[in-house]
Subunit: 347 residues, 4 copies
């Protein structure tokens, strides 16, 4: 089968012919239809410090995908839940089920997590094998959207963690694909006012298409002042920090109201100076670090939002390429003007 | 001033000329603009057992209202939060602030609650005096809607208590005014599917206007079977029990999914036989009894929903009468086909 | 191997020689050391309506046990978490991992639960095979206590569900083994006052040994009046209803304070008449039906309590029998004066 | 009456003869029996930048106290809850009751908070006037302990915010008086293991007396390594950060387990460099800023702990002085070896 493989340490990926993955007793073999390309894939392509420290080539890349079940291992078949022909996506974190986080509702923080396309073979290929317990039936969600439920799930986790956002004011700081999804999730979940900021006008346009009431161009506007103005001087109930920049953190803490919440998803590449007294303690703020998707309450909420059409993520998808177009896909992501980029792999 | 007074034990009310209420140091004098007529007022009019046991005539009736501030006691004025001319409504439960429920976020269950229009003079009058801390500025909500925020708040409390309803399935059992408001609240809060039932087709029509995805005529349909069908066989995440009938309770328990929740607002006049093993324990259900409005988180959420237009309660308002039309107002409520009934009192 | 088998519909069990269970790829073979005998086993022995409707003989009985790992299936071995020689117990509900309850933190309510000793072969035998994911390492907890972590877990689930019990008043209604464990759990979790009631003085003595501050003999005392007296007239924050009797329900609702909680574990054999208006709605109560143990937050808390000695369940264990003494074990349970009864099976 | 007054900008306080405070309609006049001296009082004495920016002399200092009710304003008297002769303490944050935090359970973050002894006259005096709603009856708690319920409440807020600590591992970082109280609160609330660190051996001794299972001398030991060792390599469920030092923050983040929580009470005087990616996001941590005491759920829990003796704060009290000994009280606090310091004012 075809697969995009990181064959050795260093930049790039190679389209290779590799064997179809073998199937353990609890596994499901899935023919990949679509796959999403993620910022993480860019890091892997470029072979940055994180990638060099984590990946052990050769490894098939890709962790966001949808597909059709082609075969089931004997235990997976005996469960009688999934069957050949089902259209599915999957949670890409394969977890142990035994450790303290797994045992207490935090499987996304499993001590032994293995991520597809990073720690084991991934989805930029004609087939992938996944444990049945990680597989999620699409049940009517289109396979193109199914391919990007991993990052939509990041947005759902970021928006829903904490108190109900129904009737809340939400500030989404950073309008990459996950930020734009977060705007749509906040609207679906009944937020009263959603404010989004970015430095890029194209991304702000997508945020508006996803339902942002107010969009702020952080290159030209005083974001915190505008947010106070838009919230009667109080600040917002929830900040979704998607930028990972120290200046984003400062804005996030200033924009949150006393007693509010900052959920941090954007991964910083350097440290941030924090004034804990002024920004966290005297304001009674709650900060929360977002990793992955809650297994599986995040997925359940997301499936409901997508099946009913409460959340329509399609405005975020800006580019589609075939599997062999990976270099172009990586390029448009690197240019910074893309929304979500999808690979069209199978049928 | 004019006031509708229960002058002595027994049915009816009298429109009388009474003195304008005097003002304590923490009080606010409010000119009443609109008032809502409630099922409770019907009980008081008819002087049923509950009314006979609780009211001590003479008392001015009416607990749902909006108005304009006319004067402030010295302490209320010194707070510098409310001012003459503000359009306001008010929480009608006047609580002690000292007891265990008051001290632990359950002021609506205060041991010393005094309800306006029941335990002290109410709002079917040209003026009412209220403690400043019970007064809620309308800040742009129309006074007509302001007059019915008490029952809308009952609906907000019923829908929002428990887990977030975003992405949930909600069954509203009973489509009187509060049930119809609950339909709208569930939609505003991001419910994925809202199912409403009643015996009366007019009320089901209002429920549809408020956003119910599915309406069920309980006089002709197998409600529980239809709900299972509409939820892939699982049952709903949340039942809002608004009927107060034993048969409603049975439907509520059967319609909730395992691990689901039943919030009970409808006040039964008799006991219900409950199969706790089958309906509560083996299903892992949570039941919750709804009294009043949480003080004041319910109000905060409601204000957000109303100010943004996420919740538009106007389809529920079916009748308007002048103060002297109280007998007609009581009659249309008793006939059972009315939505919300409003008295137009001042300007 | 030896096993206590319900060989055919009807009362009793037979000690038989049966094959050692075969091992699936995800399974662990455990040599049983101790097993607990439960009220459920009494129902199975007596072949009551519930048992007749649920069990399909032949089936090996017993769902509470501890043991030593003797062998692992290849997938369980590859996980490298459990190993031969580990002393373990196990969650006896084998769940699907795919259904809505399983996906949202309510695995104990799985639509496809199979319970050992009921729906598949159980632990009153020399060996049992269990899925690795159900197995819990004892890590220093004695095997005798390990054998009764299933019912201790019922108590942990009942006491911990809801708000923190630290600083709370808790009423344990019914002092069978799970009630007595609940007394100890409430103490371990920082309850300020634990009140226990029963009709049997021996059980009340065990409750006192487990740390009850107040014990009430429901055959002679006005339980609700005594509870009000002991709580400054307020009632308790949490009732753990362990009796399953309609009169217990009535006491539970009356004993809970406004805004309080009643967690129901005792399984009624008939219906209860509930005054929802007076007892639930106007009091703002929360009721919750307790099934099994939360998978696995209940287990995590229980392991902490047992390993530190915060909870010492040994006073509850009153009888020990060999495997062939099952008839005696059943008899002492039926007589109603026993605490926890344990079978000593292996070494 | 006697009062310790900050008479003008600059260091020190003066013992003066001033008028007994006048009483508003909602106020209660309290004869002060004992008062606690706090680090905040040291800042005020030394007239640091914070004090210079906030206080407007002349102002009577002191915000921790207990006393006996001497008189009630007419509204306070009409409430019929408090009465002359009651032994009481009080919440020192006087809040508006109208703003968003006040209306949503976060009164401790009120936009208009006025703190006694800082923004208005305080308790280092023979009498103080307090709004009745801030007054807390001691109901059997000794007046000496009543005088320090303000800082004990800080500890209760820090320990109880978040999930139940029953069965949890808790690390108290910094053993000043509030840290030592936090050790005792964690034990009272059922923590399985409480670890405390400080640089000062005397304070570690007090922490041990309050129930710490493990104490770590941060001047000599690798605190994070020792905590990992003591928790099977996982880290703790909850860190109570009491030091306010950047190095404390670094230890706190490293000592918390994945999915754990850091509640921050210690007020830093400078910024901290935070590695959000490594320390918060990938670990899924929750951080929370602690201000004051929750009004009044913190007080309710604290009263329960103190009345039952579950929490005995007396080992923390190391010094007692008369009102005129304030300079000595400030000196021993400044020397850093004191536990809690109390002024004996009235009888």
């Amino acid at each position: 089968m075809r697969a995009l493989v990181k064959t050795s340490p260093g930049p790039g990926m190679e389209l290779q012919d590799v064997p179809v993955p073998s199937l353990g007793p609890n596994d499901v073999l899935i023919r990949v239809l679509y796959a999403g390309v993620c910022g993480t894939d860019l890091h892997i392509w470029e072979w940055d410090a994180w990638a060099a420290g984590r990946l052990k080539p050769p490894v098939v890349i890709g962790h966001e995908f949808s597909g059709r079940i082609e075969a089931l291992g004997p235990e997976a078949e005996a469960e009688a839940v999934l069957k050949i022909g089902d259209l599915v996506t999957a949670e890409g974190h394969i977890v142990c089920g035994h450790c303290l986080p797994c045992r207490t509702g935090n499987g996304h923080l499993c001590y032994r997590t293995r991520i597809i396309g990073v720690d084991r073979d991934g989805a930029f290929a004609d087939f992938i094998a996944m444990p049945a317990s990680n597989v999620i039936p699409l049940d009517g969600i289109s396979p193109e959207i199914g391919a990007i439920m991993d990052p939509i799930g990041n947005a759902v986790h970021t928006v829903l963690e904490g108190n109900s956002v129904a009737g809340s004011t939400v500030f989404v700081l950073g309008c990459g694909p996950i930020g734009c999804f977060a705007v749509g999730v906040a609207r679906a979940a009944g937020a009263s006012q959603v404010i989004a900021s970015d430095l890029n006008p194209t991304r702000l346009e997508i945020a508006r298409a996803m339902g942002a009431h107010v969009t702020l161009d952080a290159s030209r506007e005083d974001v915190v002042a505008r947010i106070r103005e838009a919230t009667g001087g109080e600040g917002v109930d929830l900040v979704c920090e998607m930028s990972g920049h120290p200046s984003g953190h400062a804005q996030a803490f200033a924009a949150a109201r006393p007693g509010g919440r900052v959920n941090l998803l954007g991964t910083p590449s350097r440290t941030t100076e924090v004034n804990f007294a002024r920004d966290v303690i005297f304001k009674g703020l709650t900060l929360y670090g977002v990793t992955g998707r809650k297994m599986y309450s995040t997925w359940n909420a997301m499936q409901r939002f997508l099946r009913t059409g409460q959340l329509d993520p399609r405005p975020v998808v800006t580019h589609r390429f075939p599997l062999e177009g990976i270099a172009d896909a990586i390029r448009v992501i690197k240019e910074g003007a893309a929304g979500k980029v999808i690979l069209e792999i199978g049928r």
